[in-house]
């Protein structure tokens, strides 16, 4: 096994660990932190199933963003939906045998890759051309867009211009499950693509990418509007009553 394969094997073990442990830590932290007051942004659903419906609309359609800014919504939605298709397409590298739905989604994954880059370019251009968005952007906001665009472009280039041995790539990742990494092709574009993806995984729990789990824990979106019917009280607030 080559040195490079070893490096990438360890990189991916590390990245997967950081991503899983980091996100788990944050999710547990969010779940354990009480929300002492009822603060849904109203009008809000009055039932649990209503909240599930509201949350689904937020996750799938970005409803609030749609109301807030059409340009950011269209670019943001194109990017996220593209990324979703791309992720589905890539699952074929990580499962054996490949499930039928994943086989069916393959061609759409390619369009997803293009859409993703288009959306990202749109979002990035707003950071330069809209003065308010320029004002609130810090270097990390630019870097994360650059990272995602680089991931998308390196992937598309491998698809359309500089092909790599995808069968070997798949054996490499399947091998990781049994701690038996198979040789990774030495194509520079592939190595770059994989390095950037690992970086994204490592950065995830330490950056604003936490918006993904964060949304599900947002009290203004996930609370049921029923404060008069049900008494809502946090453990630390309950202790005040016993004093």
């Amino acid at each position: 096994m080559s040195f490079l394969t070893m490096v990438y094997a360890y990189l991916y073990y590390f990245a997967a660990f950081v991503l899983l442990a980091g996100v788990t830590f944050k999710v547990v932290q969010y779940a354990r932190t009480p929300a002492p007051l009822k603060i849904p942004t109203t009008p809000a659903p009055t039932t649990r199933s209503g909240v599930v419906f509201r949350m689904t609309r937020e996750v799938v359609l970005f409803e609030s963003l749609f109301r807030g800014n059409k340009w950011t919504w269209i670019f943001g939605w194109i990017f996220h939906f593209g990324l979703f298709l791309v992720t589905l397409r890539h699952l074929r590298y990580f499962i054996e045998p490949v499930w039928l739905p994943i086989e069916l989604v393959q061609p759409f994954g390619i369009y997803g890759g293009m859409a993703m880059v288009v959306g990202l370019v749109g979002l990035w251009s707003r950071r330069f051309f809209v003065d308010r968005v320029r004002y609130i952007s810090s270097p990390s906001d630019h870097l994360i867009l650059a990272l995602l665009i680089a991931i998308g472009c390196s992937g598309l280039l491998m698809k359309f211009v500089f092909h790599t041995d995808v069968v070997a790539v798949k054996s490499f990742f399947i091998g990781l499950y049994s701690f038996d990494p198979q040789p990774l092709p030495h194509d520079p574009l592939l190595l770059l693509h994989l390095f950037l993806v690992a970086t994204l995984m490592i950065v995830f729990p330490y950056s604003k990418l936490l918006h993904a789990p964060g949304l599900f824990f947002s009290p203004s979106r996930n609370q049921v509007d029923n404060p008069r019917e049900h008494r809502h009280i946090a453990p630390w607030a309950k202790r005040l009553e016993q004093e």
């Binding site: 932190t33 002492p36 009822k38 603060i39 942004t41 109203t42 009008p43 609130i136 810090s138 936490l210």
Partner: protein, 511 residues
């Protein structure tokens, strides 16, 4: 037109988003609370020596107590959806008044001390040390947020800047940097029972005066009782209702509605204030202590129901928090929600056909309706979501012939704050209040031009006081803002009730 020492914004026909103009409001500072104001609330009198350490400790504590704060500080992706939504940004052009700009004042400190990325690469992620300059910015800009939640409507994660403003104010209070206006008022509530510091005898005088006025006006004896043990309903209303215009016309209206409903009711001198400024300063303990007065009054007066008068933030605390802060309410009549809004009460009577109106009495006015921010986005009325929009409008339609809504983008859950909410209704913030009112006044002005609207009804004491003061700066009349129950009061047809006297005697015997 009122005299201004600053430039009053020009109204335009369309809502235009101003270009980012940094530091235009950096000079805006409310008066700082003196030690004697801080003490009754349990806060240090002045900036403590090791303030930075203490503030960070407090921030850590709040991060563990409030999921909202933790999630909101982590989740923002700087998408910009909120940047043109805050009335203070639209009115002042100052980017630190964009919701995300305001949040970032705290987020940069959070990142520096509570996140790995901020500890290792502060410049990269926009993290900053908690310096005195940052603290000064906090004091200025966290007192330029009216906690109206408009930003949270448009945020893809529901990030509510109000939660962050409240936390910031609590942190500042904990190191001895309090705001005079809010903290002085909370002290008055503890000492006297209401925000305006009106003692019991003054309230009784005022209410007797109202009874005489209404008798003179209508020939019908409508009662305005206080501290009546055994009454069915405890009415908790903002203390401005006792004397300020147009608030008092609303109180007169509540009394007439209760009269027509034929239920006994009472105010309380112990809980003679609906507002709860504990929320503005983010202090759960103070908010709870203020809310407990209502529980005490309800028990002491042996009432069966609690109804709140017209007040925006008060209704938020009442509807959303009262059960949490001062419940459970199992000793009250379970057939009614606790608490109820006076609009719900009036609306139900209208539905049951128990009120008669002569709409012509309001024909001198063409109405529009201002959705008060905290009623619109932080509470509800009735049984269905959005009742807080429909019920007040239904009451206006039942009592007035001429009603037109303002532009859709500026009403219901997209309503603009009046510019004076969240503990900013103080003369030392006049420039902010006038500029912050711009988006609302603009929409009002448009509907005045297009539909001939003459008056705007509201159901919030802060909105009423704010517009009374601010409209003249824009060349409008201060009396263009009216109480919703003032319209009810004008149109309601009163009937004589003889049994009132007997009720009163019974109640007095019980006392």
């Amino acid at each position: 037109m009122a005299k201004a020492t600053f430039e009053v914004p020009e109204l335009s026909q369309y809502l235009d988003v101003p270009p980012v103009t940094p530091q235009t409001m950096a000079h805006s500072l409310p008066f700082v609370a003196k030690p004697e104001i801080q003490a009754p609330l349990g806060f240090p009198g002045e900036l403590v020596d090791d303030w930075q350490e203490k503030a960070l400790d407090k921030m850590g504590e709040l991060l563990g107590k409030y999921r909202s704060l933790r999630v909101y500080l982590d989740s923002c992706v700087k998408c910009g959806s909120c940047t043109d939504k805050c009335h203070y940004y639209l009115g002042t052009k100052d980017p630190k008044n964009m919701p995300v700009g305001r949040q970032d004042l705290m987020r940069k400190v959070y990142r520096r001390y509570f996140t790995l990325a901020g500890k290792l690469f502060p410049r990269l992620v926009g993290a900053e040390d908690f310096t005195k300059e940052v603290l000064d910015d906090w004091y200025s800009y966290y007192h330029q947020c009216s906690q109206c939640r408009r930003c949270s409507v448009f945020c893809p994660y529901g990030i509510d800047t109000a939660e962050i403003s409240m936390a910031a104010r609590e942190i500042m209070d904990s190191i001895g940097v309090g705001q005079k206006y809010c903290n002085e008022i909370i002290g008055k509530v503890y000492k006297i029972g209401n925000n305006l510091g009106l003692p019991g005898p003054a309230l009784r005088d005022t209410l007797e005066g109202l009874e005489e006025d209404v008798l003179d006006d209508t020939g019908v004896a409508v009662r305005y009782p206080i501290d009546q043990v055994g009454a069915e309903i405890l009415l908790v209303t903002p203390s401005a209702d006792f004397f300020a215009e147009p608030h008092v016309d609303g109180l007169i209206g509540y009394g007439k509605v209760f009269h027509e409903a034929g239920v006994s009711w009472t105010l309380s001198s112990h809980a003679s204030e609906a507002a709860n400024f504990g929320m503005f300063i983010g202090s759960y303990e103070n908010m709870r202590r203020v809310a407990q007065r209502i529980r005490e009054a309800a028990i002491q007066l042996k009432v069966k129901r609690i109804v709140f008068g017209e007040c925006g933030h008060a209704w938020r605390v009442a509807y959303s928090f009262l059960n949490t802060l001062a419940g459970p309410w199992d000793f009250l009549d379970p057939r009614y929600p606790v608490p109820q809004h006076i609009c719900e009460f009036t609306y139900n009577l209208i539905q049951e056909g128990k009120l008669t109106f002569d709409k012509g009495e309001n024909d001198d006015k063409v109405l529009t309706y201002h959705d008060s921010c905290n009623v619109a986005r932080a509470s509800r009325m009735g049984n269905t979501p959005g009742g807080q929009f429909e019920i007040p409008r239904a009451i206006i339609r039942a009592t007035c012939n001429h009603f037109y809504d303002m532009d859709e983008d500026t009403i219901r859950d997209r309503t603009f704050c009046c510019g004076g909410g969240g503990g900013l209704l103080t003369d030392d913030l006049m420039e902010l209040r006038v500029k912050g009112a711009k988006p609302r006044v603009e929409a009002l002005n448009n509907v005045m031009q297009e539909k001939g609207v003459t008056h705007m009804a509201a159901i919030c004491a802060i909105c009423k006081s704010q517009f009374t003061k601010v409209l003249p700066y824009y060349g409008m009349e201060m009396d263009q803002i009216v109480s919703l129950h003032q319209l009810v009061s004008n149109a309601i047809v009163l009937t004589e009730r003889d049994e009132e006297e007997d009720d009163e005697e019974d109640a007095e015997e019980a006392a």
